[in-house]
């Protein structure tokens, strides 16, 4: 607003002061911003208890209350982390694990998006695709590991397949409901204005399914890391899960915690990426 006229209404009394602009200005809604964004300046008071817990943990280790074969001290964990990073062990495990998630996610995303679009866009697609997907969805997919081992052996394939399976369902469901939820008034309007089928698809249907799709993306990335962790627990000769399992045999709790921290950091990082994409792709939500 470039030219503010002087407030023509000022109520001052009982410490209430209302000043009204004369122009019918846009209302700034701060309440329904998507996914709690733009909240910089974290309150430092929120750091008190986490830091206290870490301090207590350190003290408990030093006084022998927590023996290192149950849980290593934060300081030891930090040193081990730096050490593992230095020898390249951690880096190698990191690359192996992210590759598994990357491939599994790509495969699952293509399947989930593809099926979601087909069953969202066409009646027959829904008749044919939706029932089996809904049936499979009720299976606890982590319980499929024994079958996957029988089918794919114990190499990379069962882990990738598990990630792909976990990724496909949330994406499918969200894409499907996003497409089905398109505002029929917009379809009507654009039909009357002469949009072709393709134009309606590109400018109306798919953009309107985007918010849901991004929700599905975040969910499926969460599931992807979870599937990886479970998959790597079962059998692995490389990767973060291997690092952790191997450490267990030697009671190296410090290495276990390092592995867990890396898992957590990876999960947070991918979530942050999706949030970034969301912020850019959904700018129109204003």
């Amino acid at each position: 607003m470039s030219q503010l006229s002087p407030p023509h209404l000022t109520v001052t009394g009982e410490s209430v002061s209302v000043s009204t602009l004369s122009a019918p200005a846009r209302v700034d809604t701060t309440t329904d911003l998507p996914t709690g964004r733009r909240r910089r300046l974290p309150d430092l008071r929120r750091w008190i208890s986490p830091l206290a817990i870490v301090a207590l943990w350190q003290i408990a280790c030093e006084t022998g209350l927590l023996p290192p074969d149950k849980l290593s001290s934060p300081w030891t964990v930090l040193r081990t982390g730096v050490e593992l990073a230095g020898t390249g062990e951690l880096g190698d495990a990191f690359v192996v694990s992210t590759t598994r998630v990357g491939i599994g996610f790509a495969v699952g995303a293509v399947i989930g998006l593809g099926l979601g679009v087909v069953s969202g866009l066409s009646r027959w697609g829904e008749f044919l695709v939706d029932p089996p997907v809904q049936m499979l969805r009720t299976l606890p997919f982590l319980g499929l590991i024994p079958l996957f081992i029988l089918w794919f052996g114990i190499g990379e394939e069962p882990k990738i397949a598990l990630v792909a399976l976990g990724v496909a369902f949330p994406l499918y469901l969200n894409v499907h409901s996003g497409i089905r939820g398109v505002d029929s008034h917009l379809i009507e309007a654009t039909t009357a204005l002469g949009y072709t089928r393709t134009e309606r698809l590109v400018h109306v249907v798919l953009p309107s399914a985007l918010p849901n799709t991004l929700v599905g993306l975040r969910q499926s990335l969460g599931v992807a890391w979870l599937s990886l962790i479970v998959g790597e627990q079962v059998n692995a000769s490389s990767g973060l899960g291997y690092l952790i399992n191997n450490a267990r045999e030697f009671l190296r709790t410090d290495v276990i915690v390092v592995g867990l921290v890396v898992y957590a950091a990876l999960g947070l990082a991918t979530d942050a990426i999706v949030r970034l994409v969301e912020r850019r792709a959904l700018r129109w939500r204003v």
Partner: protein, 232 residues
Amino acid sequence: MAGVTVRGLTKRFGERAVLRGVDLEIAPGEFVALLGRSGSGKSTLLKVLAGLDTDVEGAATVDGGVSVAFQQPRLLPWRRVWRNVVLGLHPPVGRDVAVRALEEVRLADHADAWPRTLSGGEAQRVSLARALVREPDLLLLDEPFGALDALTRLAMHRLVEGLWQRHRPAVLLVTHDVDEALLLADRVLVLDDGRIAAEYPLDHPRPRRAADHIDIRAAVLADLGVTDRATA
């Protein structure tokens, strides 16, 4: 050749017939205003003419291209204002065309805004620009000036009238404002009880003033159930 021919058009929602045997003809280039109480079926009739509702009895034929400004603006929230104006045009046109159309509705400086940031009246004007830029043979306008202040409304009247005089589309304008209808239209129709209940040709030369057709004004208001006393 007629712009629009409607014969015995009946539209039911379940048991209830909203339109019952509407007969209507609009000549090419004719400007027709449609009045009627809220819920009388004006938007329903427009929807049939726009080809959006084929589940009807009777016949409705429209020659040539149609374009609509709906009662609600119905803009795509994920496309910027200027893209909303020109999307769906064949062949595709550039931003300059959109900006020129937006200039006409006095919104050129909002060309790059997101639709959700517009006020109700602004969104309505974008929707009007979107309908006008298509240069159709039949222009369907469903209360396009409803959310506008008096001054902007007059400007939009001039805009629509000017555009109509230049390109000569047939126009069907739905409005609740009798004066607006008398100012702009060649013919005023009153929709009541599912039929065209009354019809008044207007022959006063343009540009018209508010005092023209004062006798017809009273008659139309009577058709709408407004008594003299209430309007005085």
